[in-house]
Symmetry: C2
Subunit: 203 residues, 2 copies
């Protein structure tokens, strides 16, 4: 996180995190809806993209800030829970996850309104792909949802099919396979995965 | 986090996270006391070190696991809160933080017993160095401490002097200043900080 790097630049100027902010993964963050008072904090994160999970349009002031900072906004319209609750559309979750696991979009921030349910769903699905056991996924979901643990979110995470996201995940994998001469090139989506042959170093 | 990288290796074998587990920073994690059922999870984190914040000795089984996986254990004996509460020794917190911000120890896991108070203190001090505002630091502390927000922890974080840790922090900074020919060498502790001059590339 670049906050450390920027600590000296910000001396005496405190950074206000959006509520429910946390780091999910290298290059992946989550929070509630960021407001102008959080722009300093977002700048320190050095964000490349944002995943926004609500159908409502974005405030003009925030859009201007993103544009000025070259932050790409990906919007996926998931309705908030109604009575009776409608299921979260699988296709939308999958589309958001494909953006999320693409390291070309990192550092990336996921947010909805409160950073509890829709965001919690997406993170829960990611954890499933990471083979986290159900109780670990649930514990994390509840930590951010507080007492408001919702049945439709549980169902969304539980029924999420991890297999179809595996290929996408290969893109994030390569980030961890090291830098230097043996690093793998960045793949995306349905590209075939091949291990590049080691190159002889020219003397 | 290497869990993704290892997702294919672990197909069908779920990973159980220690309670109160979370990512704090690139290469920094926090949790409650990990038990043998969490060893698979710890393996996937590819840990290099552990900061243990309790005075009690470590279980033999865990020590063997760490040794087999080349995980260095740094123990800092902070007593749990008694009645009346004794303050957390500043020197101990500073010593733990110096280990924490040294990227040569990363990936690193901080834990105490419940992953709530002593761990929350250390993370809170780190956030202060990152210039987080008090309400953001507190929100994070409370998320993991649950209802058990302790006065002596608040005092420890509030009175923590960030200036003396700045020099150490420069070591973590360089991690974020990029790879490739212009990357900075890793510094530690009180070494002088100098920006290396750009080198001409030999043709």
């Amino acid at each position: 996180m670049c906050l450390i790097m920027k600590a000296d630049d910000h001396d005496g100027c405190v950074l206000v995190a959006p509520q429910n902010f946390a780091m999910v993964e290298n290059g992946i963050y989550r929070s509630s809806f960021p407001k102008p008072e959080h722009f300093g904090f977002l700048t320190a994160l050095n964000l490349r993209s944002i995943i926004y999970l609500c159908p409502e349009p974005y405030p003009e002031e925030s859009l201007k800030f993103y544009e000025a900072n070259n932050i790409k906004l990906f919007q996926f319209a998931i309705e908030s829970q109604k009575d009776p609750p409608t299921p979260i559309p699988e296709d939308t979750v999958m589309a958001a996850l494909r953006v999320l696991v693409d390291v070309r979009n990192h550092p990336i921030l996921i947010h909805c309104k409160a950073g509890k349910h829709r965001t919690g769903c997406l993170v829960g699905c990611l954890r499933k792909v990471q083979n986290w056991c159900w109780s670990s996924v649930l514990e994390e979901y509840q930590k951010y949802a507080g007492l408001k643990c919702r049945q439709r979110d549980m169902k969304c995470i539980e029924t999420f099919d991890t297999v179809s996201l595996r290929q996408c995940l290969l893109s994030i994998m390569y980030r961890y396979l090291g830098y230097g001469p043996n690093r793998k090139r960045l793949l995306y989506g349905e590209e075939n995965v091949q291990t590049p042959k080691p190159q002889a170093t020219k003397v």
